[in-house]
C-alpha cells in the first residue's frame, strides 16, 4: 500500500475555504518559511480512500474482541461522539470570555464532582493528556506538598516491581529517586519490604490496585498507613479502576492523589492518538497545588480559578476537553447503579474466561481475579516450544486482538487478558473456543503457530529491526 506521501499529484487539493471575514495579517518577512512544506497533495476522494484502506488493515474495538490487559479496551458508545460534537462544545474557543462558555465550564465542574465521588477525592485537574502525564502531574503535587512544608528530605518514591513501567519513569521525570521493592509472588506488596523501605526520605508510594496481575491487595489499608506514618503520600495509578468503580474508592483506601484514564475506564477512544485524558484527583491537602485554572461555582455562575500554590499549567488550556464531554456522557448514561454494574460485569467476565480456560492454560494465580487475569505460557513453551508471542499471533488469525504480552514482568511468558464488561457471553465463548483450539494446535502442529499470523494484512513484523533501526519519518528525495 502506498504511503500518503507517495500518493496524489502536484497541484491537486481539496480545501475550499470560506471567504476570510477578519482582517488579513501577513507574517513579517523574517518569520516566513523559505520553501513550501512537503505536504501531500490529494483530492478529498483520494484521502478518503487512503484512510478507509488504512482503517481496513487495522483492528479496533469496532472490529472485534480486544482483551488487552491493563488497557480496558471497552466499547466506545456512539452517544459520546454525538454529545462531543454538539456545536456548543465543538465550536467554542478556549480563550472565549467565561460568560459565553458557561455550559462547557459546567461540564468540567460536573465531571469533577462525579469523578471525585467515584474516587473519593476532593479536587481534580483535567489538564493531563493521558495516564503517564497524570502520574507526572500527581507526583509534582506530592513534591510541591513536601516542599511547601519545608520538608526537603523527601526525595524518594517507592514503586513495587510489579508496577506499570510508567510509574518509575514518571517518578524519575519528576526528579525523584525511585526505590523499587520486590512484590510477593501474588503481585501484592510485601509489607515487611515496604516497612524496611520507608523513612524520612520517603516522598510517596505509587500503587495500582487491583494490582498488575488482576488481584486486589487485601492489605491496602495497612500499606497506605505505613507510608502515611512515615510521612509520605500515596499515589493511586487508576489504570485498573474499571474493576472497582462504585464499589471501593482509592480515597477510602488511603490514597491522597490519583490519576484516571478516561480513555480506559470512562469509555473514550483509546490508542491511535485517542486523544487520551488523564485527570488527576487529590485530597483536600493537595488541592491548593493543582494546576490552574480549575472551575469553581459561585451563585450559579462558573468561573476559572487558579489554586493558591498551583504548580502551574501542565498543558495548554483545559486539557482534552472533548474527551471530558464523552466521559461525562458515559457517567450520566450509566448512572450510579450502571457504573457499579459495569465494574461487576468486568470482573464477572474475566472470571468466566479464566474458569473456562484454566484446565488447559496455566493461570499465574489460582484464585478469583478482578477485571483481568494473567496466564503463564511457560509450561506450554517448555513442552511444545510455543510461546506467548506465538499464541498471540494465532489469535490475530482468528480476528481477536492479542492480550497484553510479557507483562507483568514477574510472570514468565505472560498473557494478560481483560475482556471488559462490554463483551457479550457469545463473544467470550467464541474467544474461549479460539484459545482452546490454539492450545490443541500448539500440541499437534506447532509449526502452524510459529508461522502465524497467516491471514493478516502483514505477517510477523521485524520487531528487532524496528527497535534497532527505527524509521521515524518519511524521507523525501
Amino acid at each position: 500500500m502506498k504511503l500518503i506521501f507517495e500518493s496524489g499529484a502536484s497541484g491537486r487539493g481539496c480545501s475550499v475555504l470560506p471567504e476570510c471575514d477578519v482582517p488579513v495579517f501577513s507574517l513579517p518577512e523574517s518569520m516566513r518559511r523559505e520553501k513550501a512544506p512537503n505536504l501531500p497533495q490529494l483530492s478529498e476522494n483520494d484521502i478518503s480512500r487512503h484512510y478507509t484502506a488504512l482503517a481496513g488493515r487495522t483492528h479496533g474495538v469496532n472490529n472485534g474482541f480486544y482483551p488487552l490487559g491493563s488497557c480496558t479496551m471497552k466499547y466506545n458508545p456512539k452517544i459520546n461522539e454525538e454529545m462531543a460534537a454538539l456545536p456548543g462544545f465543538s465550536s467554542i474557543h478556549p480563550l472565549q470570555p467565561e460568560h459565553t462558555v458557561q455550559g462547557a465550564m459546567e461540564v468540567l465542574y460536573q465531571t469533577e464532582k462525579a469523578l471525585c465521588e467515584i474516587t473519593g477525592m476532593d479536587g481534580m485537574t483535567f489538564q493531563p493528556a493521558a495516564g503517564a502525564h497524570g502520574e507526572f502531574t500527581g507526583l509534582l503535587l506530592i513534591k510541591a506538598y513536601h516542599k511547601h512544608r519545608g520538608d526537603s528530605k523527601r526525595t524518594k518514591i517507592i514503586v513495587p516491581d510489579s508496577a506499570h513501567g510508567t510509574n518509575p519513569a514518571s517518578a524519575a521525570m519528576a526528579g525523584f529517586t525511585v526505590v523499587s521493592i520486590p512484590s510477593q509472588e501474588d503481585g501484592c506488596v510485601d509489607l515487611e519490604k515496604l516497612r524496611a523501605a520507608v523513612g524520612e526520605d520517603t516522598a510517596g508510594l505509587m500503587l495500582t490496585n487491583p494490582n498488575t496481575v488482576g488481584l486486589f491487595d487485601k492489605n491496602i489499608l495497612e500499606i497506605t498507613k505505613i507510608v502515611h506514618d512515615a510521612g509520605g503520600l500515596n499515589y493511586y495509578d487508576g489504570a485498573n479502576l474499571n474493576a472497582v468503580m462504585g464499589i471501593s474508592r482509592p480515597g477510602d483506601m488511603g490514597f491522597d492523589v490519583v490519576h484516571l484514564n478516561l480513555h480506559k475506564t470512562f469509555s473514550t477512544p483509546h490508542g491511535g492518538g485517542g486523544p487520551g485524558s488523564g485527570p488527576v484527583g487529590c485530597k483536600a491537602l493537595l488541592a491548593d497545588f493543582l494546576p490552574g485554572p480549575v472551575v469553581k461555582e459561585e451563585q450559579g455562575q462558573y468561573r476559572f480559578h487558579t489554586p493558591e500554590h498551583s504548580i502551574g499549567r501542565v498543558k495548554s488550556f483545559y486539557g482534552n476537553f472533548a474527551v471530558v464531554v464523552k466521559a461525562l456522557t458515559y457517567i450520566l448514561t450509566l448512572g450510579a447503579e450502571g457504573i457499579r454494574e459495569a465494574s461487576q460485569n468486568a470482573v464477572l467476565n474475566a472470571n468466566y474466561m479464566m474458569k473456562k480456560l484454566c484446565d488447559l492454560y496455566t493461570m499465574a494465580y489460582d484464585e478469583r481475579c478482578m477485571h483481568e487475569f494473567v496466564m503463564s505460557l511457560e509450561p506450554l513453551k517448555k513442552e511444545t516450544g510455543i510461546s506467548a508471542m506465538d499464541i498471540a499471533k494465532g489469535l490475530l488469525d482468528n480476528g481477536i486482538h492479542p492480550p497484553t504480552m510479557y507483562f507483568p514482568l514477574i510472570v514468565h511468558e505472560a498473557l494478560m487478558v481483560e475482556p471488559t464488561e462490554t463483551e457479550s457471553k457469545e463473544t467470550l465463548d467464541e474467544a474461549i473456543e479460539v484459545f482452546r483450539s490454539l492450545y490443541e494446535t500448539a500440541k499437534t502442529d506447532p509449526q502452524a503457530l510459529h508461522d502465524a499470523p497467516h491471514h493478516t494484512p502483514v505477517r510477523r513484523l521485524d520487531e528487532v529491526g524496528a527497535a534497532r533501526n527505527p524509521k521515524l519519518r518519511y524521507s523525501f528525495e
Binding site: M405, Y406, F407, L409, H412, A467, R468
Partner: protein
C-alpha cells in the same frame, strides 16, 4: 541450554569468569538471553562505578521488555564492553563471549553457583 563448566553463575542469571589478573568478566547466561528474547539496547555502567553483589548494575532491552542486570559479585567497573552498544545481538549469539563489564576489587565469587548448581536452579524455576 548452554552452561559452560568454566563459568560461575548467579541466581539472577548473570555469569562471572575470573581472569588470570584477578579481575572478573560479567555477562548474561544463555538462559537469560533466551528468556529475554532478541536484545535491542544495552545500557552499560560507567567505568569506576562500584557495586555490591545484587545491586542493579545496568539494563538491557529486548523486544519484550527492559530488564535490570544485577552485579553477581561486589566490585568496581574497570572496563565496559562498548561493542555491545552497537551490537546488542552479540549477547544473543554468543552469550559467553559478549561480556558486559570487567570488575576489579572483586569479592563474593565464592557465593556464586557452579554450572551444575545453576542448572538445578533453572530447572526449579
Amino acid at each position: 541450554m548452554n552452561t559452560p563448566k568454566e563459568f560461575l553463575y548467579s541466581k539472577s542469571h548473570e555469569w562471572a569468569k575470573k581472569l588470570d589478573d584477578g579481575s572478573v568478566l560479567v555477562g548474561l547466561s544463555d538462559k537469560a538471553q533466551n528468556d529475554l528474547g532478541d536484545l535491542v539496547f544495552v545500557n552499560l555502567p560507567a567505568v569506576g562505578d562500584s557495586f555490591s553483589a545484587g545491586d542493579t548494575m545496568c539494563d538491557v532491552e529486548s523486544v519484550k521488555a527492559v530488564s535490570d542486570v544485577y552485579a553477581p559479585v561486589s566490585g568496581t567497573v574497570a572496563e565496559v564492553n562498548e561493542m555491545l552498544l552497537d551490537t546488542p545481538e552479540a549477547i544473543n549469539k554468543e552469550p559467553y563471549e559478549a561480556w558486559l563489564v570487567k570488575l576489579t576489587d572483586v569479592s563474593g565469587l565464592e557465593d556464586l553457583l557452579d554450572a551444575d548448581a545453576y542448572i538445578a536452579v533453572c530447572e526449579e524455576e
